[in-house]
Subunit: 220 residues, 4 copies
């Protein structure tokens, strides 16, 4: 899995600070530019603390994601306040086996071998169907959830906070949790004040949305 | 594939007619109730003709959909102005082979046989992984796109019109086109005036969004 | 202010219960219909308790609202997961003074008199501009925030819960709080299990989003 | 009215070109970076021509807007695929008359004088209510639609194209049309290929959504 932040709003922390100031002052937005670094920080801290997160919607972040499974992307695209562009299985011929291996399988030689054999078999069947002149868009019906795919996703900072809350949780499915953690690491680099406390709800709000009392992170 | 309309806004055509009248009159909304059938029809016809479709958002439609592939649902959930509830592959054990067969495959005995054999092989591998104590949420990585799933979807009438425009198109992937056509048939039964002219853009707007001049439905 | 529930999804509580069951079972959605009242209640209670509220999006509610101010509607339409149809000030001639009076003004004869006089003056000016052949859409620039308007709004149950959380709060502006409380009362009549615990976050989550320690409802 | 583009996605045209390429190729998104200027242009042109505009959602644009009326912002915030931060009339004291004058009024001395007098009268009443200890959030009920306000808005490129289609139309209300035209001019400077053909539907699609045959721009 590769995750790279390939674009984002210029001034991702200044714009939200300007927006928050605008709502409570007479200063014209074109002059809000003059907010000092220190003033910006103070405003942002307040915004995050009070969860007045509508202002952080002004900053968006675009990630290039590769070598993830279709299982992952099927979950990912359920987030509706986001924009996606995904590699098409209708138009792209996928005749080489490229697939994701879950850690629970790779950690054991025997299960890893069984899994790899399964994948080889599946791709043989896929290629046989192509040889039988079945169109790629139908032959792909045999391809597994594990099939690797590429996707670009853009979310604004508020939608990202929600994404991290749900998907950095230990109870989330392992692959999307790994993705969420990598995205969070990338986002923090360019907007550290917005994302410094981002994470699962047990960290951000000290409540467990899943009510999993046996989780090691369950808030005390 | 089974598609059933299992719920919808009471008065799916009266509410939009009331809404359209409200925007241009002094009548209080609680009195708009008194619009005659004939007045409602006239207003609705105007709304559809002028594509002032924001008023039809007041009517929503809920469909129960079963025995469709995960390929289909991965496309379906890309529609963001909609609500979805889908059978989870993490929590539901799917040890019996249940899968969709594309028509291009089923129409020929030889390809159908090859496909069925593939499916049997895949499910054998899936069950072997389960026996090896791999959790269901990881074993499912071998399951194919063809795996059957169930989903409930709710869309408002405006979002449905857009869905039909894109997915009833001959260029759409066959399975989601079949779904779209079945949903349109169901929706027409309870809101005939809203959906009577619904369909692909070649029918509704006389333009081909795909610019496919070789399509039999290409507008003349 | 008049608020009336004029339409909603048939079976507003059954559909979410069916949706919640579908996600964790092999039962086909068309058979979920057979859930008993008791089973439905149990499922819904769990859903609300765990805040797995995506399933309640399948139920939508449409309200006719009249005699509210443009101040209120300007706030109301900021809710984006909703559909609105509002009386147009461009096309509807509003030559009679119809306006909302804030309680802080009406409770005192002197301020009430000053306010009424202001309104009469404003409408005289508005009518003078119309007589001078200024188009209604420009003359209305003098009309006050208090001007009465009518609006229809549709929200799904999840969006409504969020609306009630923000707008039933004692810190919310009085007019939209009054609206929210009336909408909640109406919604409870037809979906009592979904809305029984709805209200401001101090009631639903025992946290004060506004951090107002001096509020009489501040959670202890 | 002042309109200034104060932030936007870095590489607003490169990201959509990368996204469009990703969907139809095996190139990993982290390598799409290497697209030449010429390749990018060719891809973007195709995207705009075929209206495959989902990929341009990856680019967002943030505008600071000042000295517009509350009439305008009430219309503006109806666009739901957007993020807004607006100056609050609850918390900001607006005791100086600051208001917008429609051209149909300013072009004539007599109507201009009548309008200015009205505004002075209104603000006198507003200040009187404040002196009577009415809270600002209630006194503002007398303030006119013309009252100036400041707002920041962020939209992605696809949502902007839709905004321009509706609001650059000659049939749109004059103030929001002026805003739309200024926003379009700003957006074009940084994303000329995306916005070069943006504008009302008579220009972009050669159809008149309003069916106004008497409009000078009605497509022939």
């Amino acid at each position: 899995m590769n995750v790279k932040l390939i674009g984002y709003t210029s001034n991702p922390e200044k714009l939200p600070a300007m927006a928050a100031t605008l709502t409570h002052s007479k200063i014209k937005p074109e002059n809000l530019n003059k907010l000092s670094e220190k003033e910006q920080s103070a405003v942002l801290e307040q915004v995050i603390k009070l969860r007045h997160t509508s202002v952080i919607e002004h900053a968006s972040f675009t990630f290039a994601i590769s070598d993830v499974s279709r299982s992952l992307t099927h979950q990912l695209v359920r987030h509706r306040i986001a924009s996606f562009s995904q590699q098409s299985q209708r138009y792209v011929n996928l005749n080489e086996p490229n697939y994701v291996v879950p850690p629970s399988i790779s950690k054991n030689k025997k299960t890893k071998k069984a899994y790899d054999d399964t994948m080889e078999t599946i791709w043989n069947h896929y290629n046989t169907l192509l040889e039988m002149k079945i169109p790629a868009e139908d032959a792909r019906y045999v391809l597994p959830n594990a099939t690797q795919t590429n996707i670009m996703v853009t979310m604004n900072a508020r939608s990202l906070l929600n994404f991290f809350e749900l998907r950095c949780c230990l109870h989330a499915q392992w692959e999307i949790r790994m993705l969420a953690n990598k995205m969070l690491r990338e986002a923090k680099k360019v907007a550290p004040r917005i994302f410094q406390h981002a994470g699962p709800s047990c960290q951000t709000k000290r409540i467990c949305l899943e009510k999993k009392k046996d989780c090691p992170l369950y808030p005390k």
